[in-house]
C-alpha cells in the first residue's frame, strides 16, 4: 500500500510545535548559546587566559585521565555483567539486575558520602588499611576515579543488555557448532553485533565521567593543581571572579558534551526514517 498520509495539520499542530520550540529555546538553546557568547566576548582572550592558567590545564588533564580510567573500567565491567545477565542463569540474577541501576538514582553527594565512609583515610571502613598498604584512595586520583566510575556505572550495561536480548543466541550457537571457541565466538560474532550499542554506551559514559561534580568534590579534596578536576575548577574560578576562565572551561566541557551527543545521534539507529 502507498505510505499512509500524515494526519492533516490543524491549528493545534502549530500551537504545539510553537510551544515546544519556545520551551526548549528558553530552557536550553538560548542559555547554552550565551555561554558560548560569553566565552568569545573578548575574542580568544578567555580561552587563552584559561589555557595559560596551570591550575586549569592541570584540572583538564586530570579530568581526562580520570574519565578514561573510569570508562575503561566501566566498559570491561559492563560487557562482562551484560553477558552474565543475559546469557547465564545463576541465583541472584534478578537482584543483581535491579541493583545495577542504583547508581543512577543516588545523589552524587550521597555517592561521595558513601565512598568517604568506605575509603576515608582515617574513619573509613577500608581506607586506613589501604593507606597502611600504601594505597591512598580518598583525596587522591584513585578516589576520583572511584567516584566517577560509580556514577557512570550502569550506562554501558543499559545499552548492551537490550541488544544482547534482541540478537539472541542463534548466531553464537551456529559459531560454536562450526568449531569456534568461547573467546572466538565472542570476538567474531557477539562483539560485532553489539558494536554500536557498546560505542553508544561508552560515549555516554565518557560524557558523564567528564562532567561529574558532586561526588568528585567530596572524594577529591578539591585542591587546585593536585586533585581539582575541570568541573571543580569552574566552580572555583567563577566564585573567584575569574568568570572569563570559568566560561572558557565550561565551553570546553560543553563542547565535548555536545560533540558526544552529535556522535551518538549519528550512531543511534533510526526507528523511523524521517524525511524532515
Amino acid at each position: 500500500m502507498p505510505s499512509r498520509i500524515r494526519q492533516p495539520k490543524t491549528a493545534g499542530t502549530y500551537v504545539r510545535r510553537g510551544l515546544v520550540i519556545t520551551y526548549l529555546f528558553l530552557l536550553v538553546a538560548w542559555p547554552v548559546s550565551l555561554v558560548v557568547k560569553h566565552t568569545f566576548d573578548g575574542g580568544l582572550d578567555n580561552l587563552q587566559t584559561a589555557l595559560s592558567d596551570p591550575d586549569v590545564v592541570f584540572a583538564l588533564q586530570l579530568t581526562v585521565y580520570v574519565a578514561v580510567w573510569a570508562v575503561v573500567i566501566n566498559t570491561v565491567f559492563g560487557v562482562g555483567v551484560s553477558l552474565l545477565l543475559v546469557r547465564y542463569n545463576f541465583p541472584g540474577r534478578g537482584i543483581l539486575s535491579a541493583l545495577i541501576d542504583l547508581p543512577l538514582s543516588v545523589s552524587p553527594i550521597v555517592v561521595g558520602l558513601a565512598l568517604l565512609l568506605t575509603y576515608g583515610s582515617t574513619n573509613g571502613l577500608l581506607g586506613p588499611s589501604l593507606k597502611d598498604a600504601g594505597i591512598q584512595v580518598a583525596f587522591a586520583p584513585l578516589g576520583i576515579i572511584l567516584a566517577t566510575a560509580f556514577v557512570s556505572l550502569p550506562l554501558v550495561i543499559r545499552e548492551l543488555v537490550p541488544v544482547l536480548h534482541e540478537i539472541g543466541t542463534d548466531q553464537e550457537q551456529a559459531a560454536r557448532s562450526l568449531g569456534a571457541g568461547p573467546w572466538q565466538t565472542f570476538r567474531r560474532i557477539t562483539l560485532p553485533s553489539v558494536k554500536w550499542a557498546l560505542v553508544y554506551g561508552v560515549v555516554l559514559s565518557l560524557a558523564r565521567s567528564l562532567g561529574e561534580f558532586g561526588a568528585v568534590k567530596i572524594m577529591s579534596g578539591n585542591i587546585a593543581g593536585q586533585t581539582q578536576t575541570a568541573t571543580l575548577s569552574v566552580e572555583e574560578k567563577y566564585q573567584d571572579f575569574q568568570q572569563g576562565t570559568a566560561y572558557a572551561t565550561s565551553f570546553l566541557l560543553a563542547l565535548i558534551a555536545v560533540a558526544a551527543l552529535v556522535v551518538v545521534s549519528v550512531l543511534r539507529p533510526k526507528e523511523s526514517p524521517d524525511g524532515d
Binding site: 500500500m1 502507498p2 505510505s3 498520509i5
Partner: protein
Amino acid sequence: MGIEIRGINKFFGDFVALEDINLSIPSGQLTALLGPSGGGKSTLLRIIAGLESSDSGTVEIEGVDTTNVPAQKRNVGFVFQHYAAFKHMTVAKNIAFGLEIRKRPKQEVKDRVQELLKLVHLEQWSDRLPSQLSGGQRQRMALARALAIEPSVLLLDEPFGALDAKVRKELRDWLRRLHDEVHVTTVFVTHDQEEALEVSDSLVVINEGRIEQIGSPDDLYDRPASDFVLSFLGPVTRLGDHLIRPHDIEISRYEQAATATGKISRWTRVGFEIRLEVTPDDTLHPDPIQVVVTRAEATALGLHDGDQVWLRPQAGVEPVRG
C-alpha cells in the same frame, strides 16, 4: 442505496492510487475488493470509512452524501488487519467502547455487549485483555466491536491477513455465516482470490488504481474481462496462442486433433492432484505447458512421465484470448 462511489481520484504525490472510480455496492451484500498489494483497494476502503480523504469524487452511504463527513460521524464499522485492539481494555470494554461514546444507557450497553460476545463466541473471554487472546479471537473481538454500533456498513481491511492458514479458513466460513445472519452491507479487502471467490456475493477486481471488472464470483472466474483478471483469479498457462486454465486442458496419449503436442517433462503429485509440465514439440512456442489432472484421470489415461501427449481445450471451454 448501499454505497455509491462516483468519480473518486486519489494521489499520493505523483503516485496515482485511485483513478476515476465509479462503483455501486448494493445494500445487504458481501462485496470483496480484490487485487494485488498496492493496487489501491485498501485506499478505497479507507476513503469509504472517512479515514482518508479523496482528492475528488463523492461517497454516498445509504443515500446520504458522506464525502465531507468525518470518520467519527459516518457510523461505519471498520475492522483492521492487525486488530487495532485497545490493549488496556478488556474484551467487553473494547466492544462497549462505541456504545459508551454514544452515551447509551448502561443496561443497554451491557445487554448489547452480551449479545455480541455470544455472536462472536467469546462469552467466556469477556474479562480478558486482548493480549490473552489468540489472533483469531482478537479479530472476532474487533468484529464485535465494529458491529456494536450497528453500523450502516461494515468495512474489513484484509481482516484475515495476519492469521495462519487454518484459522483463516475457519474465520472465512464463519464470516460468511455471520453475514447471512446480520445482513449488514459488508465490504472486505483481500488479495487472496480463493478467499474472495469463496466468501463474497460480488467481486470488484482493482489493479493499479482502476477497476478491472465487477461481477459475481462465477462471472469473473468463467468470463474474465481481461488477462489480468484471468490470471489473478487462478493459475493460467499458454496453449498455442491462447491462455487457458491448466485443468481445462484435455490430455491424451493417443494421436488426436490437438492444439499442441509434446513430452511430459515434469510430474508433481500434490494430494489428489497431479501437475504436469509438457514441453511442446513446436519450437515456436517453447514454453512448457502446465496441465492439471486428478490422480484417477491420470490412471485412467495411463499417463507416465516422459510420455508423448496431445493437448487441446476441453469441450465447452472457450480459451479466453491470445
